[in-house]
């Protein structure tokens, strides 16, 4: 997950919780669950809370996150037969509220989940900013929060003991892509990023990796949120003639970069855009101009990971598509993986006791359809590498890391007019 937000600043930012208790999970009677799977009788319900954007600037990714969480909950209740705690089966119920992308609202909702709804555990919201404010609340009450959508490194620098993230942290986003490109002979890089928390982390990482792989950084540019025009940046970069362009922050910026590069006839050998390309909507909207664009990905349906619960990444892909009528984005997959990690820890702990589950999370070392999960002592998932994709003839193909790649990199990029 990341903070790529599809929307922008909604106006509706103040406190207004919106409830959407996941419809299929609200205390389904034990008999129905048993009826379908003939599982052992249900011993109880685990209540899990989450504040996820339904409206506001993170409405798009919030939806992916919800669908990811709900997919897991339905699967637990209807197929898996409930969470297995020392042989007893427990149903799960997710209490979800709309945080509207506002930190105040999110914090308030999480506090409400803990004190009024008295949930047992928490799942994370969408975006680093909201994770920052909600994780402090979770920490205060000592309630475990597992998240998959706050990648900013500052979250893990606060010494909190109750926050766990399954996703690769922001600093490593561009690692695979840059390594691949330097192997192909790229020598120079320019970087443009939105000056907000998450893109800054990504860009700092990119600079670090570029140096590590022996590439020269020709220029670094920042731009503000809601930027309407990036022509100036692209004009400057065009004159620097770099091999690789790395840029991005939000989905819209990705569109702006592609359009501006084309307009100004700026053709580096490769463009790595940190948010957007891995989303099928990107190809849909940009068309043939999207070809050759590279992007990092937390997860793709074509990756080779596999687990005992959802099967392969592809199995998960199909299951998700069947259920929601659209392909899973990696935000959706990591949300499911987040819930899965929590479940695995509960099962390993064999109890709902908070301390035991927390310890089990620290000790956790599992493989999932989403990749390996193993939290370090700050709560980051140290085990999972980041992938890179390239859009090739309108298809999103994994090109790095080599072990998960499905095709070769197309390099260098063709001129804009020859597509």
């Amino acid at each position: 997950g990341d903070d790529s937000d599809a929307g922008t600043e909604g106006q509706e930012t103040t406190a207004a919780p919106a409830t959407t208790a996941a419809p299929a999970t609200t205390a389904a009677p034990a008999t129905t669950a048993a009826g379908t799977t003939a599982a052992p009788a249900i011993a109880g319900t685990i209540r899990i809370g989450a504040a996820v954007s339904e409206t506001g600037k993170y409405a798009r990714e919030g939806k992916d996150t919800r669908q990811g969480y709900n997919l897991w909950a339905d699967w637990v209740n209807e197929e898996y037969g409930g969470v297995n705690i020392g042989g007893d089966r427990y149903e799960v119920e997710i209490v979800m509220y709309d945080d509207e992308g506002d930190p105040d609202t999110a914090a308030n909702l999480v506090e409400k989940l803990i004190t009024e709804d008295q949930v047992d555990f928490l799942l994370g919201p969408y975006s680093s900013g909201l994770t920052m404010s909600t994780s402090a609340i979770a920490e205060k009450y000592g309630v475990v929060m597992v998240e998959g959508n706050g990648a900013s490194e500052t979250i893990f620098e606060r010494g909190f003991k109750n926050i766990f993230a399954v996703l690769t942290p922001a600093g490593n986003y561009t690692q695979s892509a840059l390594k691949l490109l330097s192997d192909q002979g790229a020598k120079t890089v320019v970087v443009a990023y939105e000056d907000t928390a998450f893109p800054t982390s990504v860009a700092n990482g990119a600079l670090k990796w570029a140096e590590e792989y022996g590439m020269e950084v020709l220029g670094v540019e920042t731009y503000p949120k809601d930027v309407a025009d990036v022509s100036a940046i692209m004009t400057k970069f065009r004159d620097m003639e770099p091999d690789v362009f790395v840029g991005g922050g939000h989905f819209n910026d990705a569109l702006l970069f592609v359009r501006a590069a084309k307009e100004l006839n700026f053709t580096p050998d490769a463009m790595v855009i940190t948010v957007g390309p891995s989303n099928p909507k990107f190809v849909e909207e940009v068309g043939t101009d999207a070809n050759y664009i590279l992007g990092p990905t937390q997860w793709e349906g074509t990756m080779s990971w596999e687990d005992n619960w959802f099967g392969t990444a592809e199995d998960y892909y199909n299951r998700y598509s069947d259920k929601w009528g659209e392909a899973p984005t990696y935000q959706a997959a990591e949300s499911t993986a987040t819930a899965l990690a929590l479940m695995a820890a509960i099962e390993q702990a064999g109890t709902l006791d908070m301390d035991a589950v927390r310890q089990a999370l620290f000790d956790l070392d599992i493989m999932t359809f989403y990749g390996p999960i193993n939290f370090d002592d700050t709560g980051k998932n140290a085990a999972k590498p980041m992938g890179a994709i390239q859009i090739q003839d309108g298809v999103i193909n994994v090109v790095a890391p080599v072990e998960a790649a499905v095709t070769d990199l197309q390099f260098p990029m063709a001129p804009w007019t020859a597509r």
Partner: protein, 297 residues
């Protein structure tokens, strides 16, 4: 030198778009004293209409103007008639509440209808002309051209036709306008209709260059607000020059300051705005309402 020329071209393109984008906002404010907080949302609606025509029916986005202009005119006319006319007699801040409510409704209704996914239209007027080492993007040139035509027609309408003059008269003294026989409500509905039509057209114009999504409105409204001050309320030459000045400043600073240029461009645009306001309070080019007469909100 090339870089400078390129920066100037970029700036003019951006400025033309700014000018077209804020025009409707500025005139509505100048004439009716209504600060239309739903401005960005109307742009968004125009952009969605264009997107639908483009994706569903394969229309060239710019031809969609033929549909967007009349459609948005009717929308604006009706909104004014049933909603805003009821409050024009109230102090002007009241209109803020209504248009703010409108903005929320439109954005969220669009979200229900089209989801929050960003959209982009595909235009045939793509690519770029190379003039030496300077690149002139075709799409933006067309945008600038259409924007200029719209502005020119509006100017001619306001200053050369009787209806246009009566719109200006209503802006200056509502009471007097009534006693010389101007039907204020009709004039207002007409003005609002025209301005919303132009605003929707701006949506059409940006649809090939920017992502269209339900919550894109507020930053646009903010921009419109700022340029309006630079330009003078309701002044069309002012709109053009104000937009250009801002476009050029942003573009030049963006190019010549490294690292934080684009951030700084925004700051300097607003610093410029404050400086202009303090030294020339009526905006760069005067306007429908000069400063002395500017209503306390």
């Amino acid at each position: 030198m090339d870089q400078f020329l390129q920066a100037v071209i970029n700036g003019i393109m951006l400025g033309g778009f700014y000018a077209a984008m804020m025009l409707g906002f500025s005139v509505i404010w100048g004439v009716m004293g209504v600060i239309n907080l739903a401005h960005g949302e109307f742009i968004m609606v125009g952009a969605y209409a264009t997107w639908v025509l483009n994706k569903e029916f394969g229309w060239e986005p710019f031809y969609a103007l033929a549909v967007v202009l009349p459609l948005m005119f009717v929308v604006g006319y009706i909104i004014q008639l049933v909603l805003i006319n009821r409050i024009v007699d109230q102090p002007h801040l009241v209109s803020l509440l209504v248009t703010f409510g409108l903005a929320i409704i439109i954005a969220n209704a669009m979200k229900l209808a089209y989801s929050a996914d960003p959209r982009l239209t595909e235009t045939g007027f793509a690519g770029a002309w190379e003039l030496g080492n300077v690149t002139v993007p075709v799409t933006k040139t067309v945008i600038l051209g259409v924007a200029l035509v719209i502005m020119g027609s509006l100017w001619a309408f306001l200053h050369r036709t009787k209806t246009g003059k009566s719109i200006r008269a209503a802006a200056q003294n509502k009471q007097a306008a009534r006693i010389v026989g101007i039907d204020i409500k009709k004039i207002y509905a007409l003005t609002f209709g025209i301005c919303i039509a132009i605003t929707g057209a701006a949506g059409t114009l940006i649809s090939p260059t920017q992502a269209v999504f339900p919550f894109m409105g507020p930053p646009l409204t903010l921009r419109a607000f700022a340029i309006t001050a630079l330009a003078g309320l309701g002044s069309i030459p002012g709109a053009l020059m104000g937009g250009m000045v801002l476009g050029l400043v942003e573009s030049l600073i963006g190019i010549y300051v490294s690292g934080i240029g684009t951030n700084l461009a925004i700051v300097s645009a607003f610093v410029l705005l404050v400086v202009v306001l303090v030294t020339r309070p009526q905006g760069l080019f005067g306007g429908l309402r000069p400063m002395e007469e500017a209503q306390p909100l």
